[in-house]
């Protein structure tokens, strides 16, 4: 029966991560991690809270929780723009769990035992190269599509993109002779595609969290900042645009949570919902952070103010997925089927 309330356990889960990021002083960690986009110390703390295990089946060494739980945690990670690749690690671990082959199980067991980040490449290998792999700089193992094979790659030399827009740990990875084939064939390829969709939903949650935090920053700034003798938040152009940003983000949050619920229950339409969640959240978060940066005036352009951290990451997360417009067209594919190509002349 329809219920938008979180369980006590889910409330506690979110507040545990919130507490962790507050204690650890995430803004300083984020700034300190501008080169690599990764904080090993924070990742270890996330591991202590059960990070990657959270939504994996118990029989595979997980905590047997819901995918929704992972989405809720990624909202909190987004709110702090915490430099920990939990979205990528979760999606990669879940595809290894879903593949149901001995090699996949062995790789998953290794990954869980090591506690190191793992990732999946949303783009298939081209001539052995995996381009711009999210968390590719820091992931011990990359799960990727190479032709009709799913491979787990470890031990290759990442090609980094230092100083990128979002300070993301993105890197090219390379399929080598060490790559382990964990599954092959059309069914395995379909399982992998579903895992990429789950990753979209996790990225949506991150963007929603970051966008909502940007609105909070905007509310605080425009209430404190005076111009013409009044707080600038008392001008309708600012108040109303903040209201629109908050509204769209609430809608996007509900959509991401609904997609997660649909993934957990394998409900009809879970695939379009996951894709819609990404596009809706990405648009709402980009719009919100653009507005809030602008409301800061010149201060928004200064590196000292935190809003730029959110501005850069929200766009970078989107670019890491791909072209927003193409992602929007993919919603149509999932809702109404792939487009028919014109007949060859």
């Amino acid at each position: 029966m329809f219920d938008l309330g979180l369980s006590n356990e889910q409330e506690q889960l979110q507040s545990a991560y919130r507490g962790l990021f507050e204690r650890e002083g995430t803004t300083e960690i984020v700034r300190a991690a501008e080169e690599t986009g990764f904080s090993p110390g924070l990742w270890a703390r996330v591991g202590e809270l059960g990070g990657v295990d959270m939504s994996l089946p118990e029989e595979l060494g997980g905590a047997g929780g819901l995918f929704l739980d992972a989405v809720l945690v990624n909202e909190v990670i987004g709110a702090s723009v915490a430099p920990v690749p939990l979205a990528e690690s979760t999606a990669a671990a879940r595809v290894l769990a879903a593949l149901d082959t001995d090699p996949a199980r062995r790789v998953l067991a290794d990954v869980l035992a090591s506690g190191q980040p793992v990732t999946l490449s949303p783009r298939p290998a081209v001539d052995g190269r995996l381009g711009w792999v999210p968390a590719g700089l820091v992931a011990d193992v990359v799960v990727a599509l190479d032709g009709d094979r799913i491979v787990a790659q470890r031990g290759d030399q990442p090609t980094p993109y230092p100083g990128n827009l979002g300070a993301l740990p993105v890197a090219d990875r390379h399929i080598t002779a060490d790559a382990v084939e964990v599954a092959a064939g059309p069914e395995a390829v379909a399982v992998f595609a579903d895992a990429v969709l789950e990753w979209h939903c996790l990225v949506a949650a991150q963007s929603v969290g970051a966008g909502k935090r940007a609105v909070e920053i905007g509310v605080a700034y425009t209430t404190d900042r005076y111009a013409f003798g009044v707080p600038i938040a008392s001008f309708q152009t600012i108040a109303h645009r903040l209201a629109d940003a908050a509204t769209a983000l609430d809608g996007a949050q509900l959509l991401a949570r609904k997609a997660a619920w649909a993934i957990d229950s394998r409900a009809d339409r879970w695939r379009p919902l996951a894709q819609m969640a990404f596009v809706g959240a990405d648009e709402a978060a980009q719009k919100a952070v653009d507005e809030v940066l602008h409301f800061h005036g010149g201060y928004g352009f200064m590196l000292e103010y935190d809003i730029q951290l959110y501005f850069r990451r929200i766009k970078a997360w989107s670019l890491q997925v791909g072209d927003h417009r193409k992602e929007l067209e993919a919603v149509a594919d999932l809702l109404w089927g792939a487009p028919r190509l014109p007949a060859a002349v």
Partner: protein
């Protein structure tokens, strides 16, 4: 969390569909389109007899005793059938207000017949010089013994031509702050000195200017305390504020997808065009988000929370998205979109043409988008007031 409406809601859906197939037909749509009056007495009474007007109220108060998810399913089906619901909608707002503020006599003689579909109530807040600033109403009500004498003019008194009462916001004390000198009344449309003049609208529905010249009504038709009318009207306005137009967007989207999937003379289909796909997908996402915002407001109400901000979010987002979607869909079909529709039983592109015109008023009535943004900014985000308190 669970996003499933549940089996009971699906069961109601089936009953409602059968009822609508029997009780809504092209004759009703024809009459509605001709007159611009979205009311049909037989339909209202039939709906009331089923307990589906106040479907969420307890049975002993004339309601249907339905849970809110059943109401959601019921409302979805009723909208899909283009049933004559506008008068039932305004009437229910005031029936709900009477349930909170009415005297025992008002509940017995007006509220109960209203939920049976036997009484129609129109809304009279807006005046020629006051809309969003409803508390600036100037229509006067002056006490004369056991009676009140009302003089003034109300704007957009939609459905007054079939109404039994107009629920009026009047000024009873001009010497205090504007919110403190208002009183609400139910004015019978049979009163001497009451007159109606028709106003035609962009969406085809008729509305009115209603004029009150020395209209005398008994004190028993006053709702709430003297000079406390703003709290009564605010409660009624809040009931009106939380509707979602996501369902309307889904209706036009379904027509657009169906039409765009038809092959043209050269065999090509609009839906294979990337630009068309992107625009339809955008409308689908916004409809989904608007629907969820509306469901959240309903759910909060159900679990005993007051969805003031969340209702405003649902209303402003879904109505703005509805307008955007209709405009984009007309663009997709270009000149083929020009053919005029009436929004009643239309199943082709003409539905979208009508929706394009109609959607404009969804951003205006029941609180303009600007009023809702101010509610979200102030009550939701805690920002300072952006308007003078007057």
């Amino acid at each position: 969390m669970d996003f499933d409406l549940g089996a009971e809601a699906e069961a109601v859906r089936k009953d409602v569909r059968e009822f609508l197939a029997e009780n809504v037909n092209s004759d009703i749509h024809e009459r509605m389109a001709e007159s611009g009056t979205y009311y049909d007495g037989d339909f209202a009474r039939a709906l009331g007899a089923r307990g589906w007007i106040a479907s969420g109220w307890p049975v002993e108060e004339g309601g249907g005793g339905r849970n809110w998810l059943e109401q959601v399913a019921l409302n979805q089906e009723i909208r899909h059938a283009d049933a004559p619901m506008d008068a039932i909608g305004t009437t229910m707002l005031i029936a709900s207000t009477l349930r909170m503020f009415g005297t025992p006599e008002q509940k017995e003689t007006i509220m109960k017949p209203a939920v049976r579909g036997e009484v129609v109530i129109a809304l009279g807040y807006t005046e020629p010089d006051s809309g969003s600033d409803a508390a600036a109403a100037r229509t006067r009500a002056v006490r004369d013994g056991d009676e009140w004498v009302i003089d003034g003019e109300k704007m957009f008194t939609t459905l007054a031509q079939v109404a039994d009462y107009v629920f009026m916001l009047t000024r009873t004390n001009p010497d205090v702050k504007k919110h403190r000198g208002l009183t609400t009344f139910l004015v019978p449309t049979t009163s001497a000195g009451f007159s109606i003049s028709e106003v035609k609208t962009l969406g085809g529905e008729r509305t009115n200017i209603t004029t009150y010249e020395g209209v005398r009504i008994p004190d028993s038709l006053r709702v709430g305390e003297v000079d406390q009318g703003w709290s009564v009207a605010s409660a009624a306005l809040e009931l009106e504020h939380s509707g979602s137009y996501a369902g309307e967007t889904l209706e036009v989207l379904a027509v657009a997808v169906e039409q765009a999937s038809q092959p043209g003379p050269d065999g090509s289909r609009l839906i294979d065009d990337p630009s068309v796909r992107a625009r339809l997908a955008q409308a689908a996402i916004e409809a989904e988000m608007g629907d969820l915002l509306g469901m959240r407001a309903g759910w909060m109400h159900q679990v005993g929370q007051r969805p003031l901000v969340e209702g405003s979010m649902a209303k402003v987002y879904s109505s703005e998205a509805f307008s955007r979607a209709t405009s984009e869909i007309l663009d997709i079909f270009g000149p083929a979109s020009l053919q005029r529709g009436r929004g009643l039983g239309d199943e082709t592109l003409t539905m979208v043409e009508h929706a394009y015109r109609h959607s404009q008023v969804t951003r205006i009535y029941a609180g303009t988008s600007e009023i809702h943004r101010s509610i979200i900014a102030e009550a939701g985000l805690g920002l300072p007031r952006t308007r003078s308190a007057g």
